[in-house]
């Protein structure tokens, strides 16, 4: 199906029955799933799945069920990943990755 055909279709709920096409696609209801792009889906510090809020946030969000949004994942230069909450507490005591013992530095943050 070419681009111009599609554009033509997009204009019209009012295109008449005399269209030369057999079928037209009016709308697509898509469903997708996202997950953190991590190698290991469990946070080695709190041992909770990274898709779930960390233990601490779970404890605090007992009142507020939407607390989850803020508990993101952080990747180190070593490419290991943890809850950001967990890692920020960890580095206060030991500035090394708990999995590979390399010095910890943040490569990127989940958002």
């Amino acid at each position: 199906m070419s681009g111009e055909d599609c554009d033509g279709m997009d204009r019209g709920d009012n295109d008449g029955p005399k269209s030369d096409k057999m079928f037209t696609l009016k709308k697509w209801n898509a469903v997708a799933m996202w997950s953190w792009d991590v190698e290991c889906d469990t946070c080695a510090i709190c041992r909770v799945q990274v898709m779930d809020a960390c233990l601490r946030c779970q404890g605090e969000s007992k009142k507020d069920s939407y607390g989850k949004q803020d508990c993101v994942v952080v990747w180190g230069e070593c490419n290991h990943s943890f809850h950001f909450c967990c890692m920020s507490l960890w580095v206060k005591q030991n500035n090394r990755c708990p999995l590979c013992q390399q010095e910890w530095s943040i490569q990127r943050m989940g958002k």
């Binding site: 199906m1 599609c6 997009d10 269209s19 079928f23 696609l25 898509a30 799933m33 898709m51």
Partner: protein
């Protein structure tokens, strides 16, 4: 003018004068103010007399005088009465009370005339009350027997008891008891009532100054004889009532009798005696006949919960029984509670078995309504009849729980699935022509039943699956209702129970915003799509969406929107992976080659299959599979619906599919996707093995959470905390918790603390 200086005093002369006044005071004769003052000084003078104080002599003479005086009163009271009889109207009580009024008042005046003696002479000898009570002066003879240590007013009362009451005690008791007995049936006139009250009151007042057992005389003279006689009387009445009629008749009269007895005590006896009077009645009329009462409980319960005209009457009977039996304590009440439980439970099972006979499409409605009927009916009954007492409400809970969680044979309990389906039925969008009324009430009802479910974790799975379908396919009646139901579940079971449900709900809310941002992104970048587009982006881990699906190639028409959206998503977020769930996507197609336009809602594979027929009239299954248009197991889900409505026709070769060029259908809107709503809530329950694995995972997570926080914990405490945490979902056995602890020790999350076998410590 009186002199305060100690001087020589002639005792005989002073006492002679004083005695005359004392006689006047005690006899309530008028005493001139001047004379009173002079005598007051005389008392003082005698107490401080020189060289020897004369207080002891004065005290002795006064006592002698009072003893003589009371002896003469005794004669006056006795009169010509025959003491041995007990007619309370023979005048003895009248005379006793009139003498008592005069004397008790006179003695009170006398006490103030002797103020100085009381203050200076008696006080010194008086042993402190504390010493009497706590016995530090135990070696001293009991002070109350040594009359010298009484004030003059107290001395007067003591003499009254010794000289007048003792000889008359039997006669007084007989008359008071018989007067009370008569007053029970017919209240006497006010004057007589007053005499009875004052006679009783005098036995209290005479010893009111005593520290030790001030009520002993009252109890001995009035209360005990009264209770003795009353107990016998009540027993006779009770036996008579039981012979006369049935238990209902009996209870009605006994309850009235109890009220009468309590009111009798209120009118004539000190407040402290009321309980004893009530207990005496209850012993004779209720406790003694408890088996007869208990024997009727089952029948009364059955008739009280029936729907006929006699039921209100029986409820009153039952309520009377409760009022009568309750004061006797939990043991006496037990048979009522047990019967209530058994009765509600039996009724519940009957309701349940008829509910379960309904067709599978509506059995969930009948199930919830049956439990609700049970709960409503008996909470109303128990509130009305038993005042909503905790014991009975507890029995109702037990009955409901037994009915809800009952299972037939080896079959799993159906409640978790049925209640979840009920919720789905209530929360689902429905045609405007057939709206559901009282949605709120129905959700409240669902919670009532839900609370009784033991396996709440299984309910949660069913609920989550149904919620996922409603949200993804936009089948919800209203998002407010969805949220309010999740909040109700959270209120009942806590955050953890609804955590994933909340996250699903949140994803849907966030998706609305995401679509708006995507459209803005398209406008900002001058991009257009070739179709309408709406997307829901779900977070992994929160949705119960089954196993992984084979990768599918979306139809070419969808490549552009999918690509643009991925581009937008990468720019808006970071660190995220996005996967298309083609088996959940739907497309809206128009069929244009027919005389009439048809609107189809179809799954992505269906769309792909139909769009591949754009330029030709036939295709084959193997071809479609090879192009990854159709997933392997797609016949039932995707192809069959197209054949069923006749849009495709089977070819001569079983592999071949032909487009029906002369397609027609009555409806113009057709939904082809393996219909997400229908029967989907009835998807087969997890096999028990699967369920056990889930519970082990849950328990292990709970143990890790607890140990992470506590670091070191004893075995029993850990078990307790785990049970506590799991309670909202299911009731774990200790054995399974132990297995989970072992597993965590193997995985080196925990270790046994060195040197303490029953203690675990957390390994960070």
């Amino acid at each position: 003018m009186m002199s305060l200086k100690p001087r020589h005093v002639d005792f005989q002369e002073t006492w002679a004068n004083l005695k005359e006044t004392v006689a006047g005071v005690v006899g309530l004769k008028a005493v001139d103010r001047i004379v009173w003052n002079t005598r007051f000084s005389d008392v003082y003078a005698l107490c401080v007399a020189h060289p020897e104080p004369l207080a002891d002599r004065l005290y002795d003479e006064t006592r002698n005088f009072l003893e003589e005086h009371v002896a003469s009163l005794l004669e006056r009271v006795r009169g010509s009465t025959t003491l041995e009889q007990s007619d309370h109207n023979d005048g003895l009580l009248d005379r006793y009370v009139s003498a008592w009024r005069e004397y008790s008042q006179g003695v009170a005046y006398l006490n103030s005339l002797y103020s100085y003696l009381n203050l200076q002479h008696v006080k010194r000898q008086k042993v402190s009350d504390a010493e009497i009570i706590y016995g530090t002066s135990a070696t001293v003879s009991c002070p109350e027997q040594d009359a010298r240590q009484l004030e003059v007013g107290e001395l007067g009362l003591d003499i009254w008891e010794r000289v007048l009451v003792r000889p008359l005690s039997a006669a007084l008791t007989a008359r008071i008891v018989s007067a009370l007995h008569a007053a029970r049936d017919a209240p006497p006139d006010p004057r007589h009532a007053d005499i009875i009250r004052q006679a009783i009151q005098s036995t209290v007042h005479v010893r009111s100054f005593r520290v030790r057992s001030p009520l002993a005389l009252y109890e001995q003279l009035v209360l005990e004889p009264f209770l003795q006689a009353a107990g016998e009387q009540h027993a006779r009445t009770a036996a008579h009532l039981l012979q006369e009629g049935d238990v209902a008749h009996y209870m009605k009269h006994v309850l009235a009798g109890l009220e009468r007895e309590v009111s009798l005590a209120q009118r004539y006896l000190p407040a402290s005696s009321r309980e004893a009077v009530r207990a005496c009645y209850e012993r004779a009329a209720v406790a003694a006949h408890l088996p007869a009462l208990h024997a009727d409980v089952d029948r009364l319960l059955a008739e009280a919960s029936a729907d006929d005209d006699d039921a209100p009457q029986r409820r009153e009977d039952l309520s009377r029984m409760y009022q009568l039996v309750r004061p006797l304590g939990p043991a006496a009440l037990r048979p009522l509670v047990d019967a209530a439980l058994a009765h509600a439970q039996a009724h519940g099972h009957a309701l349940l078995s008829s509910a379960l006979q309904h067709h599978k499409d509506e059995v969930h409605i009948h199930f919830v309504e049956a439990i609700l009927t049970l709960h409503g009916k008996y909470s109303k009954l128990f509130n009305e009849v038993f005042g909503g007492a905790q014991a009975f409400m507890g029995a109702l809970d037990k009955a409901c729980s037994a009915v809800v969680n009952s299972r037939s044979g080896e079959e799993a309990c159906r409640a978790p699935e049925l209640v979840a389906r009920y919720c789905d039925w209530v929360l689902r969008r429905r045609p405007a022509a057939a709206p559901l009324t009282d949605v709120d009430d129905k959700l409240t009802a669902a919670i009532v039943v839900f609370k009784y479910i033991d396996d709440k974790d299984i309910f949660q799975k069913h609920y989550a699956r149904a919620l996922a379908r409603r949200l993804i396919h936009q089948l919800s009646y209203s998002m407010e209702q969805e949220e309010s139901m999740i909040n109700r579940l959270k209120a009942a079971c806590g955050y953890e129970f609804t955590n994933k449900l909340h996250r699903m709900f949140t994803d849907v809310a966030v998706s609305a915003d995401l679509n708006a941002k995507f459209q803005q992104y398209l406008r900002d970048n001058d991009l257009t799509l070739n179709t309408g587009f709406f997307i829901q982006v779900l977070q992994a881990g929160a949705w119960p969406l089954g196993g992984p699906t084979a990768p599918l190639a979306p139809p070419a028409a969808l490549e552009r929107p999918a690509g643009l959206f991925e581009q937008f998503y990468r720019s808006a977020f970071s660190g995220r992976r996005l996967a298309w769930l083609h088996h959940l996507c739907t497309g809206e197609l128009r069929v244009r080659y027919t005389p009439r336009v048809y609107h189809l809602t179809a799954s992505t594979p269906q769309c792909a299959l139909l769009l591949s027929l754009e330029r030709r009239d036939a295709t084959t299954l193997s071809e479609a599979r090879a192009a990854a248009v159709l997933p392997e197991d797609s016949w039932e889900r995707h192809v069959r619906p197209l054949l069923d409505i006749g849009l495709l026709l089977p070819g001569a070769d079983p592999d071949e599919l032909l487009l029906n060029l002369s397609f027609s259908c009555k409806r113009s809107k057709l939904r082809l996707c393996a219909s997400p709503g229908h029967g989907a809530a009835a998807s087969p329950p997890d096999p028990p093995q699967h369920r056990d694995d889930d519970r082990k995972m849950y328990l292990q997570a709970a143990i890790v959470r607890i140990m992470k926080q506590r670091k070191v914990l004893r075995h029993t405490e850990l078990i307790q905390e785990v049970v506590q945490q799991a309670r909202g979902s299911f009731a774990p056995s200790v054995a399974i918790i132990k297995k989970c602890i072992e597993a965590l020790i193997d995985k080196q999350y925990l270790e046994r603390a060195p040197g303490a076998l029953d203690t675990y410590s957390y390994l960070a």
